[in-house]
């Protein structure tokens, strides 16, 4: 394939090529294979993979539209490869970060030492929408708050990794990691085998073990469920997939009742007690008696049961405070404070708009910066300065002035790229990020791989599926490249 043979990484860090036409050592097997394919072969495999995904119904729903808007998450057949050494950094960096964030959560809802020591201004905590004062004084089972995390990493022009966002509420996407791998294994079986790629399929087992770990000691056979908002949720496929993979019940709020101090499922044979819920429902909707009273999706009374220790929830309610985008700016200090270590993975430099000096800088440099709302996700509520219109920038300037606490800004980083199939026999570089999934149980497990999200639009830096992003399989190599 000519366009791959002569592939030019341009001014960007490319994950598969180190120079024009020269693959990185870990990618050589793959690139050679792709180049040697007869014309049309790669498109054929791409189409076959898409057809398979649609047939399996691996789709997501787009919010705010009428029915019939299920789409397959666009998928690109050329995988992203992460070398052995790079992965070592990511893995140790994430372990460190998640451990520290868990310490932070336990502290912030209990002793609040980090506030007393004035490491973080307490105002930032109490003004956050995701801080749950209902959890004050509470310690979750085994002291674990953030059982499942999906941390977004990006790579700059020098190839250095940065943490862009911590997602400690209900991060989604791991089902695509598992399904993409199935498809890719079929598409490139020989190269896959020869490259010694680390497996990702352990994830459901690990997740189940992490959930069992939380069960109250009173039973050997805990009843575990995945709590979903229902089939109209954008990640419903994943909820169903995970419950199927773990062999546990998939429940909705309407399937659960609180009675006699416990949570029960409504079954055809009456009530059955539930011990652990992997809940994929935001705090806001979890319990109408405690959080949003208009929530139809939750379980009235579940928080009281939770606080009595009669049910375990993963993730714990209240973890959202740790992925508030303003608190994010303090994670390096959080790591230092609780672990007395320097962060292995750096943050992207962040300007907190609540701070007068930073705000003035941000307002003056809107055309260079990325501005984000503190509590939004999915790529909503975001301004990419260099790509925005003057009107959009003015609109954001107003928003920032109105609600400074709710905004932060970061320099625009030119994300690394991966060759991507964009048309018949046509490969071009597209920007990517990486979301590895981390499970916190008796130890911390980082799934070797993760979701590589790719901005399919030329030049675009927004990788979210709701905004024209797609995904790629991520291969983590088992052995150091020579």
């Amino acid at each position: 394939m000519e366009s791959l043979k002569n592939y030019d990484p341009g001014d960007f860090y490319d994950e598969l090529f180190k120079a024009p036409g020269v693959p990185r050592s870990g990618s050589k097997l793959l690139i050679d294979k792709l180049i040697s394919m007869p014309p049309g072969e790669l498109e054929m495999r791409q189409k076959a993979a898409e057809a398979l995904l649609l047939k399996m119904g691996i789709t997501f729903n787009v919010y705010g539209r009428e029915e019939g808007t299920e789409k397959i998450f666009p998928f690109d057949i050329i995988p992203r490869i992460v070398g052995y050494k790079d992965w070592e950094i990511i893995e140790s960096g994430l372990r460190q970060r998640i451990y520290a964030l868990n310490c932070f959560l336990q502290d912030i809802y209990n002793e609040k030492k980090i506030l007393k020591d004035k490491i973080i201004p307490e105002d930032y905590i109490y003004s956050s929408k995701t801080y749950r004062k209902e959890l004050e004084g509470f310690t979750p089972p085994k002291g674990i708050w953030c059982h499942v995390t999906g941390t977004d990493l990006i790579r700059d022009n020098n190839g250095d990794f940065f943490v862009l966002e911590d997602n400690l509420r209900c991060p989604s996407g791991v089902s695509y990691v598992l399904e993409n791998r199935q498809v890719l294994k079929r598409s490139f079986s020989q190269v896959f085998e020869d490259s010694s790629v680390r497996p990702v399929d352990e994830y459901p087992d690990r997740l189940l073990a992490a959930l069992r770990h939380l069960a109250p000691g009173t039973t050997d056979t805990p009843c575990i469920g995945v709590l979903t908002p229902g089939i109209y949720n954008s990640a419903y496929f994943e909820h169903s997939f995970l419950s199927q993979q773990m062999g546990v019940e998939l429940v909705e709020g309407q399937d659960l009742v609180v009675q006699d101090g416990f949570v029960h499922m409504l079954t055809t044979k009456g009530l059955q007690r539930v011990d652990v819920l992997y809940r994929r429902l935001d705090d806001d909707f979890l319990d109408p008696l405690v959080f949003r009273p208009d929530s139809m999706l939750g379980v009235p009374g579940i928080m009281e049961v939770y606080k009595k220790g009669n049910i375990a929830l993963a993730n714990a309610p209240g973890t959202g405070i740790a992925d508030d985008k303003v608190i994010y700016a303090f994670v390096p200090q959080i790591i230092k404070y609780y672990m007395d270590e320097d962060p292995i993975l750096s943050n992207v430099p962040t300007y907190i708009c609540d701070d007068k000096k930073s705000r003035d800088y941000v307002l003056d440099h809107l055309d260079e910066l990325v501005v984000k709302a503190a509590n939004e996700s999915g790529g909503y509520g975001m301004l990419i300065g260099p790509h925005a219109t003057e009107a959009e920038r003015l609109e954001f300037a107003e928003k920032i002035k109105d609600e400074p606490r709710n905004y932060m800004a970061q320099p625009t980083i030119s994300l690394s790229r991966v060759p991507t199939l964009i048309g018949p026999e046509q490969v071009e570089g597209r920007h990517v990020d990486l979301r590895p999934y981390v499970l916190f149980s008796d130890d911390i497990y980082v799934q070797p791989g993760g979701l590589t999200r790719v901005a399919l639009k030329k030049g675009s830096l927004v990788v979210n599926s709701s905004q024209g992003g797609g995904s790629k399989d991520t291969w983590v190599l088992k052995n150091p490249e020579n």
């Binding site: 089939i231 419950s243 409504l266 055809t268």
Partner: protein
């Protein structure tokens, strides 16, 4: 198993059975019309009559033409019993229980739905109704086959099959009811000369023609009704469907056959027993329409009892805790 899951599986199967019945019915009628082109439009109305939804149809359409009826029964999204609505509803139900049913069942239903949503489906149905409705029936039959062969025959399966059998019994009774009334408006006509082409069509509407022939050879209204209501072995006879549904129900509750431990078992057992001791002479004497109407009311009661016993236990829970 979760009540909601049981409910979804029950309805998933009912909807597919319903879609199949609509498809077969349209198919038979299209065929029948080839034999009597002169009075064409008169023969489309009964298709809507069987559904009992004339009022809704007439709101949307001025005339009972082949095209309006086929379009309405197949592609009208605002009509909950059209084929497309049934398949969409079955798929929605399937989607909410994907972790319970087999991947093959889900993939098949998903594909079936996507085919119907394709803009080419409507011209296909109007231009080649034979092939189109044959295809729909085969898709439904394949789904039934997949339930049978790819899903464990446990509680979920039994709820699904019970749903299918309930739906089938209901549909057979409706077809017989409407056709009988049209072809024999007066009971006294039962022994007069009949239009055997029309009665063949009745049998075909329940895909019973061939099996009927093997058993009875001669077509008379009495024999047709007898076969569709009382035949022990024919899979669409009302009696057979009730037996199968009752088997499923007892496997769900674990109660021995012939006993009744809950309301649905009582009601279904009673209905089955009636059918055991009724015969076609009594039915004709009583009046076919009255008999079938009474049957449908009782079958509805069974369906309601299944709902309150297995699916809506939250309401029971709430009312009982209010009493405390």
């Amino acid at each position: 198993m979760l009540s909601r899951v049981a409910n979804s599986i029950y309805w998933m199967c009912r909807y597919i059975e319903r879609a199949e019945n609509v498809a077969r019915f349209i198919s038979v009628n299209t065929n029948l019309l080839l034999d009597m082109p002169s009075e064409e439009n008169k023969h489309w109305e009964p298709l809507i009559m069987v559904t009992g939804d004339q009022a809704h149809f007439e709101e949307k359409n001025s005339d009972y033409t082949g095209e309006s009826v086929v379009r309405y029964l197949t592609f009208e999204r605002e009509y909950p019993n059209s084929i497309i609505s049934c398949v969409a509803a079955a798929r929605e139900n399937a989607r909410s229980v994907r972790e319970i049913i087999s991947a093959k069942m889900w993939e098949h239903l998903n594909n079936f739905y996507l085919e119907l949503m394709n803009p080419r489906a409507l011209p296909f149905a109007l231009n080649e109704p034979d092939r189109f409705f044959e295809m729909i029936q085969m898709r439904c039959a394949l789904f039934t086959g997949l339930i049978e062969s790819t899903m464990s025959h446990g509680e979920a399966y039994n709820f699904g099959f019970m749903g299918m059998m309930t739906e089938r019994a209901d549909k057979t009774s409706r077809i017989l009811d409407v056709k009988y009334f049209m072809l024999l408006p007066k009971a006294s006509m039962v022994n007069t000369a009949i239009d055997s082409v029309q009665w063949m069509a009745v049998l075909k509407s329940a895909s019973a023609f061939q099996m009927f022939r093997r058993q009875h050879h001669r077509i008379t209204p009495r024999l047709v009704a007898d076969f569709l209501i009382f035949d022990d072995d024919f899979p669409r006879s009302i009696k057979h469907c009730l037996h199968r549904a009752d088997d499923c129900l007892h496997r769900i509750t674990g109660a021995p056959a012939g006993t009744a431990t809950c309301q649905p078992e009582k009601l279904l057992g009673r209905l089955k027993a009636n059918m055991e001791y009724d015969d076609i002479e009594e039915v004709l004497e009583h009046g076919m329409h009255e008999y079938l109407d009474d049957f449908q009311t009782k079958l509805n009661a069974v369906d309601n009892a299944i709902g309150t016993t297995f699916f809506n236990i939250k309401q029971i829970q709430e009312s009982s805790s209010q009493q405390q």
